[in-house]
C-alpha cells in the first residue's frame, strides 16, 4: 500500500513521556475500510498510538494524516474519528438513548430525526427498547455495545477500539468478536483495533501490526504473520514456535542445505536462501507442522526421538519430544482425531518418529 492510497498515514511518529520513549519512529499505512489491529504486550505502545490517532496525545515528532488531512493542529473533538474506550466511558447520569445521541447535539437535528437515528442504532446493536434505561445499570456486554453505537451514530471515517473486549468473559468475548467483524463489514468503516490477545487479532483483522517496545515489528495479514514471521520476536509472540540453530551450506548449485541442530541436514532450494555459505540462521517450525509416527515414514525427512511429556487439551494434545542434538524437547501439536490418542501420555519414553516437509520451515536471522 502506498502513501497515496492510504486512508490513515502515520509517518515517522515518535513520542516521549519525559525521558521515556513510548514510540520510536513508527510508520504505518492503513487502508480505507480495513479492519486493522495493533497487537502487542502491555507497554508496547499500541494504546499510545491509538490515542495519538484520536488526538488525546500529541506526537513528539512525525505526522499523522487521516484522509489526506494532517492532524497535528486538530484537537480531538474536531477529528473525523471516534473511539470506543477500554472502560466504555458510558455517561452514568444519562440513559441509554441520551448516551447514544450525545454527539448529535452539535448537528442540531430535529428531535424526530434524532430519535430515528437512535432507534436505528439500538436495532443495530440488538438493544431495541432499552432507550430509557439507566446506562450504568446494564451489563458489561451491553455497555460495550452502547459505547459502540454512540461512536457509530456519528458516522466517523475511522473507529478506534481500545481493547474493547478485554473485560468480557470468554464466551461473550468470542460472540462479540464475530458481531464486531460482521458489523465492520456491514458499515464499511475503517476499524483500528488494539489488543494484546493474538487469537483475537488473528480472528478479526485484515492486517495486523505487531508492536513491541514502541516499534512496529511486522505488518502483515494474519496468515502471513503466522506462517511467515520475519523475526524471532514476531514468531514467538504469535502462537508457539520451535527454534533450531542452523548453518547455511550452499555451493552455487540449485539445491542448498541447512545443517540444523537435531533435525539433520535440510535441503532447501538455493533461491530461497539469501544468506551466504556458513552463515548462522534459525530454523523455525510450528508445532502443528510436525507429524508423529510409531515407525519411520517411507518418504520425506524424519528423525527419531523420545516422548517426554504430553499435555491433553481436549481437542488437541501437545507432545514434547526430545531428540539428540537439541537440548530442549520439540513441541508437537496434533488434533485428537480419534479416541485412544489421549492415552499417549502413559507412554512416555516411548520411541517416536518426527517428520516434516521442507515448505513448513521458516528461516530467520540468527539472534
Amino acid at each position: 500500500m502506498t502513501s497515496a492510497e492510504a486512508f490513515i498515514s502515520i509517518r515517522k511518529v515518535s513520542k516521549y513521556f519525559g525521558a521515556f520513549q513510548a514510540m520510536a519512529d513508527v510508520s504505518l499505512e492503513i487502508g480505507q475500510g480495513e479492519f486493522f489491529s495493533l497487537l502487542g504486550a502491555s507497554g508496547c505502545g499500541k494504546t499510545t498510538l491509538l490515542r495519538m490517532l484520536a488526538g488525546f496525545e500529541s506526537t513528539s515528532s512525525g505526522e499523522i494524516f487521516i484522509d489526506g488531512q494532517p492532524m497535528s493542529e486538530v484537537p480531538p473533538h474536531h477529528r473525523p474519528v471516534n473511539m470506543v474506550f477500554q472502560s466504555y466511558a458510558i455517561f452514568p447520569h444519562l440513559n441509554v438513548a441520551d448516551n447514544i445521541a450525545y454527539g448529535l447535539r452539535r448537528q442540531k437535528l430535529p428531535a424526530a430525526r434524532r430519535q430515528e437515528m437512535v432507534d436505528e442504532m439500538l436495532e443495530l446493536i440488538n438493544l431495541t427498547g432499552y432507550g430509557k434505561r439507566k446506562a450504568n445499570e446494564l451489563s458489561g456486554g451491553q455497555r460495550q455495545r452502547i459505547a459502540l453505537a454512540r461512536a457509530l451514530i456519528l458516522r466517523p471515517k475511522v473507529l478506534l477500539l481500545d481493547e474493547p473486549l478485554g473485560a468480557l468473559d470468554k464466551q461473550l468475548r468470542e460472540r462479540m468478536q464475530l458481531e464486531l467483524r460482521a458489523l465492520q463489514r456491514q458499515v464499511g468503516i475503517t476499524f483500528v483495533f488494539v489488543t494484546h490477545d493474538q487469537e483475537e487479532a488473528l480472528t478479526l483483522s485484515d492486517r495486523i501490526a505487531v508492536m513491541s517496545g514502541g516499534r512496529v515489528l511486522q505488518v502483515d495479514t494474519p496468515a502471513q504473520l503466522y506462517e511467515a514471521p520475519r523475526t524471532r520476536e514476531v514468531a514467538s509472540f504469535i502462537g508457539n514456535m520451535n527454534f533450531f540453530r542452523g548453518t547455511v551450506r550452499c555451493n552455487g548449485s540449485a539445491m542448498a542445505a541447512i545443517e540444523t541442530e537435531g533435525l539433520g541436514t535440510i535441503p532447501i532450494p538455493a533461491a530461497q536462501i539469501t544468506r551466504p555459505d556458513g552463515a548462522s540462521v534459525q530454523v523455525a517450525v510450528r508445532p502443528e507442522k510436525f507429524a508423529l509416527s510409531a515407525s519411520r515414514p517411507d518418504a520425506g525427512q524424519a528423525v527419531e526421538g523420545q516422548l517426554c511429556t504430553t499435555t491433553y487439551l481436549g481437542e488437541r494434545s501437545h507432545f514434547y519430544v526430545s531428540i539428540t542434538g537439541k537440548a530442549e524437547p520439540v513441541a508437537v501439536s496434533a488434533p485428537n482425531s480419534h479416541r485412544g490418542m489421549e492415552k499417549m501420555d502413559a507412554q512416555t519414553e516411548r520411541a517416536l518418529w518426527l517428520s516434516w516437509s521442507s515448505d513448513s520451515i521458516v528461516i530467520l536471522d540468527a539472534q
Binding site: A54, M83, F85, Q86, S87, F91, G103, N136, G140, R143
Partner: protein
C-alpha cells in the same frame, strides 16, 4: 447475618457499647432542646412544665435577627467561593500530573491541624497592619480559610473516582472543553458540589473561634450568643436559639452527607460493574 463469615460474627459486648456510645454522644446535645421547653429560668431538674415562651420571645429580638442575617450572608458567600475554589483544586489535583502534589494538598489541609485561635490571631494582626477595618468581610475571609480544606476534602474523592476516559469520550464525540464541563463533568460532580456547599455554609454559620477575633460592628450569630452567655437569666433563651440552630444544622449536614456519600457509592458501583 448469622450466616456471615467467622471473622464477622456478631459480638454482643461491642453492640451494647456502640449503642451506649451513641447515647452518650447525643444526650448532652439533646438536653438543649429539652430544657428550651422547660418553664423555668434555671436549667436544672426537675422539669417545671412545658412552655413555648422562650421561643416566642425570640421573635421580638431585633439584634438576634440582625446577627442571624449576618451569619447567613457570610455563610452563603463563603460556601459559594470555597466550593468553586474546591472544584478547581480537586480537578487540578486529580486530572493533571503535578509535581509536589502531596505537599500542595498538605498545605491546603493545614488549617485542619492548626489551633483556630492561632489563625484568628494571625489574621487579626495581618489585617490591622494592612489597615483593613474589621467587618463581616474579614470574618468571611477567616471562614474561607477554614472552609477550603473541607471543600477540597469533600470534592477530592468525587473527582478521584472519576473515570478520566469519560471526559475524553465527550471530547471524542465532538464537545469542546466548555461543553464537556457542562454536559459531563458538572452533572457528575453535582452531589459533591451540593455537599460542599452545605458543609461550607454550616461550618461558617457555626464558626465562633475566628469570628471572635475578626468581627467588627456587625456580629455573627455565635458572637451574639456569646454575648448573651454573660447573663444567666438569658440561658433559656439561648437554649431556644441553640435548639433552632442545632435543628437546622442537623438537617443541612444530614442532607449534605447523604447526597455526598450517595454519589460516592454509585461511583463505586460503576467501577465494580465495568
Amino acid at each position: 447475618m448469622s450466616t456471615g463469615s467467622y471473622i464477622k460474627r456478631p459480638n454482643r459486648a461491642l453492640q451494647v457499647y456502640a449503642v451506649l456510645f451513641l447515647v452518650v454522644l447525643y444526650v448532652p446535645v439533646l438536653f438543649i432542646p429539652l430544657f428550651s421547653f422547660n418553664d423555668a429560668v434555671h436549667v436544672r431538674f426537675p422539669l417545671q412544665g412545658f412552655t413555648m415562651r422562650w421561643y416566642s420571645e425570640l421573635w421580638s429580638r431585633q439584634a438576634l435577627w440582625n446577627s442571624l442575617w449576618n451569619s447567613v450572608r457570610v455563610g452563603l458567600v463563603v460556601a459559594v467561593i470555597s466550593t468553586i475554589l474546591g472544584v478547581l483544586t480537586a480537578r487540578s489535583i486529580t486530572r493533571y500530573r503535578l509535581k509536589g502534589k502531596g505537599a500542595l494538598v498538605g498545605f491546603i489541609m493545614m488549617p485542619l491541624v492548626i489551633p483556630g485561635i492561632i489563625f484568628g490571631v494571625a489574621l487579626l494582626v495581618l489585617l490591622s497592619r494592612m489597615g483593613v477595618p474589621l467587618s463581616l468581610w474579614t470574618v468571611g475571609l477567616g471562614h474561607l480559610i477554614i472552609c477550603l480544606p473541607f471543600a477540597v476534602a469533600t470534592l477530592l474523592p468525587r473527582f478521584e473516582g472519576f473515570d478520566p476516559s469519560i471526559e475524553e469520550a465527550s471530547a471524542d464525540l465532538g464537545e469542546n472543553g466548555w461543553w464537556t464541563f457542562w454536559r459531563v463533568t458538572f452533572p457528575m460532580a453535582l452531589p459533591g458540589i451540593v455537599a460542599s456547599l452545605l458543609l461550607s455554609f454550616t461550618i461558617s454559620f457555626d464558626e465562633f473561634i475566628m469570628a471572635f477575633f475578626l468581627t467588627g460592628t456587625d456580629p455573627t450569630l455565635p458572637m451574639y450568643i456569646w454575648g448573651q452567655l454573660r447573663f444567666p437569666k438569658e440561658f433559656p433563651s439561648v437554649l431556644a436559639m441553640a435548639s433552632l440552630i442545632l435543628f437546622v444544622s442537623f438537617v443541612l449536614v444530614f442532607i449534605a452527607q447523604w447526597v455526598g456519600r450517595m454519589g460516592l457509592e454509585s461511583q463505586e458501583k460503576e467501577g465494580l460493574q465495568s
